[in-house]
Symmetry: C2
């Protein structure tokens, strides 16, 4: 065989990425294997290494797509309302995304721990993009804060929101569970915002 040339390298890369995303979404990160991807797209294992340097590279691209999807979800959630409610809505939206796309969402944080400083600039940009979305309502809520103070406040609250999502979404996830997590999330946001501006 060899020399099929049915797809360009770019097309092949897209095929691999798409198949890999489907596997992660449907079966989770632990089900992602080179041989499975190859079978799924009708190529052999070697071909995957033509378009991705290794699994870590492929996973980083999967996670980049997830970060984009998270940004889209957060953008869509924006409404005309007060700054505190904006932040509440962003937190709820983040929880909703994490809950409805658990495997995909989880892979982002599962993986970045094993990367060891190989995070590229374009990837970091996608992370920053999500954080930039979160900063907006903070600017409206507490305009008196310095940029450093605001960035720290965003980090504190958002890492906190993520922590609640991550640790809460481990067990079974039915509708009542999600409502309960959302209530915990709302408590964190409410208390935090209250402390951020003692005299509104």
């Amino acid at each position: 065989m060899a020399r099929r040339s049915e797809h360009s390298l770019e097309e092949l890369k897209a095929l691999v990425l798409s198949a890999a995303e489907t596997i992660v979404i449907e079966e989770g990160f632990s089900a992602l294997k080179v041989r499975t991807i190859a079978m799924e797209i009708g190529y052999t294992v070697g071909s995957i290494y033509m378009v991705f340097t290794n699994m870590a590279d492929l996973i980083m691209h999967i996670n980049a797509g997830t970060l984009d999807a998270i940004a889209v979800q957060l953008e869509q959630a924006q409404e005309e309302c007060g700054a505190e409610q904006s932040i509440q809505i962003l937190a709820s939206s983040y929880l909703r995304y994490a809950s409805q796309n658990f495997n995909r969402w989880h892979t982002v944080f599962d993986y970045s721990l094993s990367v060891d400083s190989k995070i590229t600039a374009w990837y970091k940009e996608k992370v920053d993009n999500v954080f930039a979305l979160l900063e907006v309502p903070f600017l409206a809520y507490a305009p008196a804060l310095s940029e450093d103070q605001r960035k720290r406040a965003v980090r504190a609250l958002w890492f906190g929101v993520h922590g609640i999502c991550a640790l809460s979404l481990k067990g079974q996830r039915d509708k009542t569970d999600i409502d309960d997590i959302e209530e915990t999330l709302a408590l964190l946001v409410k208390n935090f915002m209250c402390g951020l501006t003692p005299s509104p």
Copy 2:
């Protein structure tokens, strides 16, 4: 060979667990392999399966020890002071443990995701034990809260504290980094506590 009988099964189990803990502490979870453990204690792979049903079982025992160590660290940190400062100290102590024992600490949360509802009662008890420690200062700080409200507040703040530790401790961890994380942690705690009791 065979029939060495140099150690009882209990002693063997302790040997395996101790060697495994050392590997996790020194090289991290990803370096933990049955063959390495076996070599380290002078037995062969098969012996490990005499005392642990599989790797998941062994890891759960490693994590149980880590949870105990966290509880000890939090207990030792207790001081004679106000309730809010107590919580600040607990949060700092948790960060200190996570930072100084990163590999071991990280394994607890790395792993529990892949367990799939196989968490035994005695393990859950160790988790509850840590949470019980955290509840104490909340009882002093906001005695008016119902038990449900207090438990939710503890979850909200502590999952938040954990989130900050987990996401912040990924990059390089030098002393200035830790100070920065501690400041973020303190902001979360301060704001949260302020919101918890609007009129103290």
